[in-house]
Assembly symmetry: none
Homo-oligomer: 417 residues x 2
Amino acid sequence: MQAELISIGDELLIGQTINTNAAWLGMELSLMGISVSKSVTIQDDESAIKKAIDTAFSNSEIVIITGGLGPTKDDITKYVLCDYFQTELVINEEVLKRVEEFFTKRGRKMLDVNIQQAALPKTCEILDNLQGTASGMWFDYEGKVLISLPGVPYEMKGIMWQFGFDKIKNHFKVKSIYHQTILLQGIGESFLADRMKDWENSIRSSGLGLAYLPAVSILKLRITSRNGIKDKAKIDAYFKELKEELPQYCFGEEKETLSGVLGRILRDKKLTIGTVESCTGGALATSLVSISGASNYFLGSFLTYANDLKIKLVGVSPSVISSHGVVSKEVVEEMALLGAEKLGVDICLSTSGVAGPDGGTEEKPVGTVWVGMAIKGNVSSFKFQFGDNRQRNIELTVNSTLNLLRCKLLEISIEKK
Amino acid sequence: MQAELISIGDELLIGQTINTNAAWLGMELSLMGISVSKSVTIQDDESAIKKAIDTAFSNSEIVIITGGLGPTKDDITKYVLCDYFQTELVINEEVLKRVEEFFTKRGRKMLDVNIQQAALPKTCEILDNLQGTASGMWFDYEGKVLISLPGVPYEMKGIMWQFGFDKIKNHFKVKSIYHQTILLQGIGESFLADRMKDWENSIRSSGLGLAYLPAVSILKLRITSRNGIKDKAKIDAYFKELKEELPQYCFGEEKETLSGVLGRILRDKKLTIGTVESCTGGALATSLVSISGASNYFLGSFLTYANDLKIKLVGVSPSVISSHGVVSKEVVEEMALLGAEKLGVDICLSTSGVAGPDGGTEEKPVGTVWVGMAIKGNVSSFKFQFGDNRQRNIELTVNSTLNLLRCKLLEISIEKK
């Protein structure tokens, strides 16, 4: 069972709007077991639309079009569909009533162009839009199906949730695809592929699919089965093997985040946390706080960007700074230990580094970051050498630090790379 | 001059990754005056890739492919291109050296699969990737051009900025479209359109193009001329008019940011700044620090997420909290005034609010945010009522606060909306 997506709109092609509709439909359809083989974005242009429909029907049983259903002149999808399916527009009385109600309810005057929103192709089935005035349309065509939806994400999603997906499920008897995702931090795609060669070959030869999805220092590994959920035990076993082999990298599964996983550990162990940040400028705290309910364990932070605030607020000794430099093991360890005391937290993370793009020296080039970690009075520290992109260095520091703390708290040894 | 984009990757089709590459390329190309007529996303599949290239070449002079250049087995773009252009892979010594340096610099071991990153099609021109190990490739083909780029946005953008766009400009002698952008904060699209009706009509009737590009509380207005830079004076005059009419909203131009503009003002006036944050959890500081050279004026912050840290670290009086509540004018004003003293800064910004999704009350619903502002001992405060999306509320607070401070420092009166 294959689907193809057609998104219509200049605003998508010139990058004014990012096409989140295609991603959302792709996600929902693949979770239903329908594979999206292609997604195409075109202009509001009659011949481009017809050509795209032809191509889509030649490959796929389901074609979903989004966009071009608004009331303005450049919205032509409905007219093109009438022509394509050799039908005509007729005012649908039920839809007209709903459009009228839509305006009455909002105290707005209905214009002629809005009445035209109720003119719909005679041969299609209407998928009601309870969020707006552009109806969804369902066309049966030589055993295949074309669904046309408005481009406004909120309206498109509403129509599909309320009517579209169920109708697809009933119309086609779909065999579901099953996915599981495991999340790793701090290991690159090629290192993992090299290290786990046999594991990977075994997965592929057992008929499962394996995909690597890399982000900044985070790697998602997705295993896919076309046999549905009955392969769950098999996939679980593969994940278990990976976690046992590389516990220092595997931090979570599915939609988890590092700060979410860490938050759960902190809650379980009834530990509080705070930060003393320099080069990360609050990004560590922001990440910890992004979790709803973070106030249960996150208490607060010092951002000591200026050196003398490290001294004045946190109590780092000036002599340690002058003898070792502010980007040093000694300084981050003092920051973490003294910060824990001042903030009254069980755990304090500290950072000091050269985020870049300026400020590097021969000895401490851009990308040098020291991280300190005080846990109930025991302090340790770690040195990282990242690249020269400031934003990226900050993100790498945050991810690496949160994962290091996870390992520490779970007593996982941190293997040297 | 037409371009077509081909994005390769299952992760895009199943919606695990949103295709921001296509939007970015679409934006940059149309700013250059190259129209993107189509964008297609397909699987890592040989016949799908070849078919997409055929179709693209039949419509467009420029074909840009992103994705499928990683070191793993499912990355096949390079091999398919070799086949398509009837050439073979050869190790490029220069690229190999760069890949080796990439690993050495990061203290990581280079693997066989990484060496393969230097094996590139014999007939293509290399577009160096200074951010990673997958090179860009440029193929000349019957007067047309195909460019293949890695899918990692950071690497893809780097290659295009550093080499790709210039090469396109030179190769096709592109007649450039001229753009100027003005940035506003705190005013909506329809409010502006209503308020500046005559101004807008005058722009359009003088043959210039006008586009509204809205983001979270930021509005970009872009004026476009097909006559190139000679319309600059005309556009400058329109911008001047807007700035004089609405100085409280117009904060910058082109690629400026609120924190960048504010940073320049702080440097000019030799003022230092710090923050005491509660509901924003460090986001204000993160925004200020995101500017390179921020250490010249940003000294530090207290993140007092827990109420007793507001008391213990900053010195807010417990009685003020208990009588007015922690989300109140009185509390943010104390936070700002006392914070300025403790941090030793000229200016201190403070926040306390209900970011959501939980924690609202009848009197202080989710989205209520108080902001305090101490400037050389003078304190003022502002109340905002935002919506119920946590991330959005934090972003709105940051943007609104930075713009308020900009107005204060430039002595621009803040007109009531």
